[in-house]
Structure formats: structure tokens, C-alpha cells
């Protein structure tokens, strides 16, 4: 199976938010009640009912004012921190196309995954089960485009063979975010401006503590436990226990 990906061209986005609506429709997600925060951006954050959203980034002022539109979603990391920390195999999983899906039946509501994610993506619904963009793995498996991509009128959102999308964007002279980072993101940005403009890390990586926890402490710990058991057994059969002399109980002090 060739690796599939999203390529999101920020310069083409007009913030019509068809993607937000299409996703809700396909996934049967209810609307979130919101308040007016003095911005068209709405809601403020990804929610358990909102798998993608347009962030409105305001840059500069006066003549220099720029409005940047950024489709925030799960980036379907090639090396996914959420999968790394999930205790329940299969609750978060990689599809044949390389996307990161989830299975609420297997989710044990531990709420670890959002701590493994470099992009603060997973959310938890009313039953405390994981939710996030699943890349429309069901549509993709059936040869369809993801609902948000299909709905996008400006082709800001594209979905297809990863290599082809990268080649296209490069031919268009675009700066690509996520080609290499984290094993290569499967949702990349053809980016107007810099990652900082969108509050993104230049080189995103698995959080340091999470790496130490899962890739260092866990394997060494399992080794250490069996090492301790082995050392105790070896000690018993080599040096042996400190036996008591049996007949001198009653001979008083030293």
C-alpha cells in the first residue's frame, strides 16, 4: 500500500470552514455551544466533537496586516507519540495507508494519549473515550477522499500519495512542514510563512519525558527486574544464604 497523506496549502485557504462542517456531517458530530470571543475563529480549541478547525492567525497591523488560516487537526505522525503511550493495543492504530485511527471499544479512558502528542490533539468525549481526526480511514479504505478534503472548494486540502503530494508542492516552490519530522507527518503543510507564525515547533518531536519513559525506562526496567531475580537466584546457589548455627540459642551473650 502506498503511503497516503494530506497536504494542506495554507495560502489557498479562505477560511470558509467547509472542512469543519463536512467532518461533523460525516462523523455525525453535534455542534459545540460557543460564545463570541471577538474572532471568527470558533471554537477556540479542538473539542471532542471537532476533529479539525480553522485557526485564524493575525499577524502584523495596518498595511502589514495578514490573516493566516491554518487547518488544525491530527497530523498522523509517522512516529506517533499517542500510539507510543497508549496502554491498550489497537485503541490507537496505524491504518494500511499510514494514518492514525482510533477504536473507542478498545480505549480504556486512561487519558494518556494527549500527553504523548506533540500537538495537543486527542480529546475525550462524554464517556471519556478518545476522539480525534481519524483521517476518514473508512472512506479512504473504500477509495474515497476524506470528507473534509472533498468539501474543500479551493483545493487547500489535498489527499493522496504522499510522495506525489510532496513532489507537487516542491515543484510549486512551497515550504513543506512535516516532510521528515516525527518519521514524516501524514498531514503536511505547504506553508505560507514560518512554523512560528502558526505556533508550531520548527522541529516537532516526541516530548522528552515521554521518550525517556517509553523508550528508556520501560525496556531497561523490564531487564532490571529479571536481572534482580536472576542475581538473587545466582547468589543463593553460589554464595548461599547466611545459615544460623542451630545449637547455640541458649548460650547467652557474646
Amino acid at each position: 500500500m502506498t503511503r497516503k497523506a494530506f497536504m494542506i496549502d495554507t495560502s489557498r485557504c479562505t477560511a470558509c470552514r467547509s472542512c469543519q462542517v463536512a467532518c461533523k456531517q460525516w462523523n455525525k458530530l453535534p455542534a459545540d455551544a460557543e460564545v463570541n470571543r471577538g474572532s471568527y475563529e470558533n471554537p477556540a480549541q479542538l473539542t471532542p466533537h471537532l476533529y479539525n478547525k480553522i485557526e485564524f492567525v493575525e499577524k502584523g497591523d495596518g498595511q502589514d496586516f495578514q490573516w493566516l488560516f491554518f487547518n488544525k487537526r491530527c497530523l498522523h505522525c509517522g512516529e506517533a507519540g499517542c500510539i507510543k503511550v497508549c496502554p491498550s493495543a489497537g485503541a490507537l492504530y496505524r491504518t494500511a495507508e499510514g494514518l492514525v485511527g482510533f477504536d473507542q471499544e478498545k480505549c480504556i479512558s486512561c487519558n494518556y494519549c494527549v500527553n504523548g502528542c506533540p500537538f495537543d490533539v486527542p480529546r475525550y468525549d462524554a464517556n471519556n473515550k478518545v476522539t480525534k481526526c481519524h483521517g476518514c480511514f473508512d472512506r479512504v479504505a473504500a477509495g474515497l477522499q476524506p470528507a473534509c478534503v472533498k468539501a474543500c472548494p479551493t483545493a487547500s486540502l489535498k489527499f493522496g500519495d504522499r510522495d506525489k503530494l510532496i513532489a507537487e508542492a516542491k515543484a510549486g516552490g512551497k515550504r513543506i512542514y512535516g516532510e521528515q519530522a516525527l518519521g514524516g507527518l501524514n498531514a503536511m503543510y505547504a506553508m505560507d510563512g514560518t512554523p512560528q507564525d502558526y505556533n508550531l515547533a520548527e522541529n516537532p518531536s516526541i516530548p522528552q519525558s515521554i521518550f525517556l519513559w517509553k523508550d528508556v525506562i520501560k525496556p531497561l526496567g523490564i531487564l532490571g527486574f529479571w536481572g534482580s531475580v536472576g542475581a538473587a537466584m545466582l547468589h543463593y546457589v553460589t554464595v548461599g544464604p547466611k545459615q544460623l548455627e542451630d545449637d547455640i540459642d541458649d548460650q547467652g551473650g557474646e
Partner: protein
């Protein structure tokens, strides 16, 4: 004259064994979260959610009993003298057969270090456990760091417990009696804790 001498009060013993049971509940429920290999341990608790709940309850019991046990013995376990230095230098005589025992108080230097490690680890596990009680509630960086530290001290405590259990049972015959029903044989005390034996033999025979 009795062959036995009193070592631990009923309070010490009950606290110790409640702590040990809580520790094993924590180990088995914690392992389910720690690595996929052990996920099936949750079956033992009736499911993952129940396992996590058991872990939280046992955690509270473990922290309380750890503090009680520490203070019950703090007078002996927090004091080190020159004999302890010698004991550590000789690795407690555990590296060769039949050496001469270095005189020790109620607890030898290794036991004291384990007691100190235990209370530090219990407090670290308790504090980090509080932070990760709801992993979405607190600062993200703090939660990630706490998950890491919780795993680290869990692993260290497992290794410590293996050594502790070995040395308290088959590694030193006669030791378990003290924690099981409160008395140890005098010959045990003379061998393993001669300074303590001298101190109490007169008063408590």
C-alpha cells in the same frame, strides 16, 4: 529461657503486611498500564477501568502505610555509624561464604538504606500519582514529567522489592519470623544484629 526475642510489634507487622499487599496490587494493576505484554493483568481486576481504580485505592493505602512504617522505625533507620560504613564496604558480607559478621544495630546498613529508599520512593510515587490521577487536569509538561518519574520509581521499587524479599526470606533464614509473628531466634539476633541484641537481651528475655 526462651530461644526467642521480640523484634516487631503487632502494629509494625500489620502495617508491613497491609503495605506489602497494597504493593502487589499496585504492581499488577500498574503493569497493565506499563506495557502491552502485561495488559491481560487487568482481567484479574475485572477490566482496565476497574484495574485503574484499584491502583488508585491501593496507592492511597500504600502511601499511608509507607509513612506509618517509616515513622515506626525512623529512630533506628535514620542513624548511621562507623560500623555501617564497614558493613557497606564489605557489602554486608554477602559476597563470600562464612565471613565474620560486622556488628549492627536493629537494622543493618542495607536495611536502613532500603527503608530510606522506600519512603523517598513512596512519596515520589504518591506525588506523581496525584498529578497523573487525571492526566488532563494539570500542566502538560508537569504531567509528562510525572508519568516518566512514576515509571522510573515503579521500576526501581520492583528491583528493590525483589532484593528485599530474597534477603528477608531464603537469603537469611530466620528473618521472616520477626515480621510474621513478631519474634526472632536469639541466635539470629546475635548473628545479624549483635549490637541490638546486647541492648535488648537484658530487658526482654
Amino acid at each position: 529461657m526462651s530461644n526467642y526475642i521480640k523484634r516487631f510489634s503487632a502494629f509494625d507487622r500489620v502495617v508491613h503486611w497491609v503495605l506489602a499487599v497494597a504493593f502487589f496490587v499496585l504492581v499488577f494493576s500498574g503493569l497493565g498500564l506499563f506495557a502491552h505484554t502485561f495488559f491481560n493483568y487487568f482481567d484479574f481486576f475485572g477490566g482496565p477501568e476497574q484495574g485503574i481504580l484499584a491502583h488508585k485505592i491501593a496507592g492511597i493505602v500504600f502511601l499511608i502505610t509507607s509513612v506509618l512504617l517509616f515513622f515506626a522505625h525512623a529512630r533506628e533507620t535514620c542513624r548511621f555509624d562507623s560500623d555501617d560504613g564497614k558493613w557497606i564496604g564489605a557489602c554486608g558480607g554477602y559476597l563470600k561464604r562464612g565471613g565474620k559478621e560486622i556488628p549492627q544495630g536493629k537494622f543493618n546498613a542495607g536495611q536502613k538504606l532500603f527503608a530510606l529508599f522506600s519512603i523517598v520512593a513512596a512519596v515520589v510515587l504518591g506525588l506523581t500519582g496525584f498529578v497523573i490521577w487525571d492526566p488532563t487536569a494539570m500542566d502538560r509538561g508537569l504531567t509528562q514529567f510525572s508519568l516518566m518519574l512514576h515509571g522510573l520509581f515503579f521500576v526501581l521499587f520492583m528491583m528493590g522489592a525483589v532484593v528485599h524479599i530474597y534477603l528477608a526470606t531464603i537469603g537469611n533464614p530466620g528473618t521472616a519470623d520477626g515480621m510474621l509473628w513478631g519474634y526472632v531466634r536469639k541466635v539470629w539476633a546475635k548473628k545479624h544484629a549483635s549490637k541490638w541484641y546486647k541492648e535488648v537481651a537484658g530487658k526482654d528475655v
